[in-house]
């Protein structure tokens, strides 16, 4: 791994000023907003966010914006194409000296999992194959949160959603967006979570030093959609890492490396039991068979985690 000298060694190295403004309409305890403000603090204000439809569409509602920098709302399917247009236009202006270099901006796509795992995949794949210099931030709350948490391509097995309310919850498995990116051989890809801000800051810092398509995939604990008390957002986030359900890793220089290996791993039931969407696994009867299968899946991943 190309170990860039990091400025983030300890918690107190993290930025103490909050760049993202208050007053947004995100839910109390939003794990996505938590990750976004941590990312923004590292990225800085010389950014233009190109947004895909999702919860965070509502960050900028006329006449209010929490961004110190710029923003462009596009549509659900094509935010990476919007990033392409802005990046290309900025490059043209720089090349032709119609804009001084200090006016340049980092182009950042901001998308939820609904667009990232589904409708927006083709535009994302296209932007990566064209080698677009952009950062792609996903706040992954594992469902179409803005419309009431229906299942999306990111919904995990057994989670109850607004469209898989009964029985054993969602029958499929969570799609692996990180691997889909890695299959494109991008410049950089990483998973992060707001509950681990030091790890997050280092990854954003590393991504900023690399040109090309870069993924920051943030698991976003969602009190509203996952049905838990908002004060538990950080606990649930940490448990996602410590149970091994959300591996923190990065792809750089053609290799996948885990930035944190939980040891010993906590049982997955500790993560699941805190969330209403998984309550049916514990009440009225404990679904031991399903819990065993879900634990086995995680164990299987960590038996050979480098792939």
């Amino acid at each position: 791994m190309s170990d860039v000298e990091t400025r983030f060694h300890r918690f107190k190295d993290l930025p103490s000023t909050q760049l993202l403004g208050t007053g947004t309409p995100m839910c109390a305890g939003c794990g996505g907003l938590q990750a976004l403000h941590e990312i923004y603090d590292v990225l800085g204000e010389k950014t233009v966010f190109v947004n895909a439809a999702g919860c965070m569409t509502l960050l900028s509602v006329y006449p209010f914006t929490p961004f110190r920098g710029s923003w462009l709302y596009t549509a659900m399917a094509s935010a990476p194409a919007g990033a392409q247009g802005v990046r290309d236009a900025l490059d043209i202006l720089l090349e032709q000296e119609r804009m001084p270099p200090e006016e340049d901006l980092r182009v950042v796509v901001l998308t939820g999992d609904g667009a990232a795992y589904g409708m927006g995949l083709s535009a994302t794949s296209g932007a990566i194959e064209r080698g677009l210099d952009f950062l792609y931030i996903v706040y992954d709350n594992e469902g179409y949160g803005n419309t009431g948490q229906q299942y999306s391509g990111a919904t995990p097995h057994a989670a109850r959603t607004a469209t898989s309310r009964m029985g054993g919850g969602f029958r499929g498995d969570k799609k692996d967006l990180f691997d889909i990116w890695v299959a494109h051989r991008p410049a950089y890809a990483a998973t992060v979570i707001g509950a681990e801000p030091l790890d997050l800051a280092r990854k954003v810092e590393r991504a900023m030093a690399i040109k090309g398509p870069k993924l920051i995939l943030a698991l976003a604990p969602c009190p509203t959609g996952w049905d838990f008390d908002p004060k538990l957002t950080v606990d649930i986030g940490r448990l996602a890492v410590r149970t091994g359900i959300w591996p923190l890793k990065e792809y750089v220089d053609g290799r996948v490396v885990h930035s944190k290996t939980p040891h010993p791993r906590k049982p997955v039931k500790e993560y699941l039991s805190l969330q209403g969407r998984f309550a049916h696994l514990f009440e009225p009867q404990r679904n031991a068979a399903e819990l065993t299968r879900m634990q086995a899946k995680v164990d299987e991943y960590w038996a050979d985690p480098a792939t």
Binding site: E45, K46, V48, V50, T57, L58, S60, V61, Y62, T65, F67, R68, G69, S70, W71, L72, Y73, T74, A75, A77, S78, A79, P80, A81, G82, A83, Q84, G85, V86, D88, A89, L90, D91, I92, L93, Q96, M99, E102, E103, D104, L105, S122, A123, S125, G126, R130
Partner: protein, 413 residues
């Protein structure tokens, strides 16, 4: 300045080249592809400055076009038919961003059944999007319209994207003599893009295209866009007059051909209108007082010019190369709405013809005039008529037999 043979696609590409566009987001589709191929080869060969990027869909192409325009560069793009519809969400979206650029559409009938030849249902699906629409009748007009479109789009009274339409095959692949103006002449007419406040810059944060809550603010923004398009009428007239003065070619919002003393008028859009022009000449030779009206601007709709031309005429054949399912010809409804309530409004007769590139023969134009004259005499319009002959029904019956459509369920014919 030189006069050369160019296809409609070639003329569109020359328009973009002379407009010195900075950025061309692209996606191939028949019959448009030649436009982006020409631009790509000029850019690759160093004959033209600019950047061409092939996106992975028309939806993304329009997104990139709007985003680059919102960053402050001059943008050109082109599509056709299914591609325009695939991009439809973004047509409406970027029109709301209030950023200027030019999109060329090469008209082609819509699926299903899928086809390659032209009619106007594709471009009419974008009628209400907030793009201004210029419809061309020949290859010269295509080149000229691209230049006029940039002036129109970038005017501060408008600041909207403009769609320039040309018909597939009949213009896209057809060579005609086209006068290509010199770059200096064009630079004088169309100066470099002054993006003014349209920008993303580190020193000047901006949130563009943000959401609104509530119908009040929404109504304000939407109606302002409508007013910007209406301003387009005046701005178009000014720009077209300036163009005519500099280049000697007049492209009024509504072409009126031999209309002054006409009793019967043919009214239609696009390249098939030149066939109507030929028919008008033939009819005049036979002593009939017939003219042609051709709206070049469809949005904004040149209501005043049309009313001024039509009031006092006896009858009008409105020939729609499109069909609104369950209603009929779109142009017929639009013209009827602006004539409503006018004393001495002419009788309108609706014809639908030229769907999917189906030819319209000189004899059919003669016959339409005859039908309209008789209807005006009676004071009553006949039902709308599809231009479709017995021969064509026989042909489809033959095809249906080969397709094993049950014989006993086929009608007579």
């Amino acid at each position: 300045m030189s006069r050369v043979l160019l296809t409609g696609n070639g003329a569109a590409a020359w328009g973009a080249r002379l407009a010195r566009v900075d950025y061309v987001p692209a996606f191939p589709i028949t019959p448009q592809t030649e436009i982006i191929e020409s631009l790509a080869s000029w850019i690759d060969g160093g004959e033209m400055r600019g950047r061409l990027v092939t996106l992975e869909s028309e939806h993304s192409m329009l997104t990139a076009a709007g985003a680059a325009a919102a960053t402050g560069v001059r943008v050109f793009s082109a599509t056709s038919s299914q591609g325009l519809l695939y991009a439809m969400e973004m047509l409406y979206t970027v029109a709301g961003w209030r950023t200027p650029f030019v999109l060329v559409n090469v008209s082609r009938g819509l699926s299903a059944p899928i086809t390659l030849e032209p009619d106007h249902n594709d471009v009419l699906a974008a009628r209400d999007s907030g793009f201004l629409q210029i419809h061309c009748a020949d290859c010269q007009e295509v080149l000229d319209s691209v230049l006029i479109a940039y002036r129109l789009a970038e005017d501060s009274r408008v600041r909207q994207p403009v769609l320039v339409n040309l018909d597939g095959f009949y213009l896209s692949f057809t060579r005609e003599p086209v006068t290509v103006p010199g770059p200096d002449e064009v630079d004088d007419f169309l100066p470099a893009f002054d993006a003014e406040s349209i920008a993303f810059r580190a020193s000047a944060p901006e949130s563009q295209a943000v959401a609104v809550l509530g119908g009040g603010p929404y109504s304000y923004f939407r109606y302002e866009t409508h007013l910007a398009l209406l301003n387009g009428l005046t701005v178009y007239d000014e720009v077209a007059a300036d163009f005519a003065e500099r280049f000697g070619r007049a492209h009024p919002a509504v072409e009126a051909y031999r209309c002054d003393d006409a009793e019967i008028v043919l009214l239609m859009m696009g390249s098939f209108a030149t066939k109507a022009r030929a028919a008008v000449d033939n009819l005049r030779d036979a002593g009939q007082r017939v003219g042609l009206l051709r709206p070049r601007l469809l949005r904004p709709f040149p209501a005043h010019s049309l009313v001024a031309q039509l009031v006092g005429k006896r009858g009008v054949a409105v020939i729609d190369q499109n069909i609104s399912m369950g209603k009929g010809g779109v142009l017929h409804a639009e013209v009827a709405s602006v004539l409503y309530g006018h004393k001495d409004a002419p009788l309108l007769v609706s014809f639908v013809g030229g769907l999917g590139g189906r030819d319209i023969s000189p004899e059919e134009f003669f016959e339409m005039v005859k039908v309209v004259a008789a209807a005006a005499q009676r004071g009553e319009a006949p039902p709308p008529r599809l231009l479709y002959t017995e021969d064509e029904l026989r042909e489809i019956r033959k095809l249906q037999t080969l397709a094993h459509v049950e014989r006993n369920s086929l009608g007579e014919g």
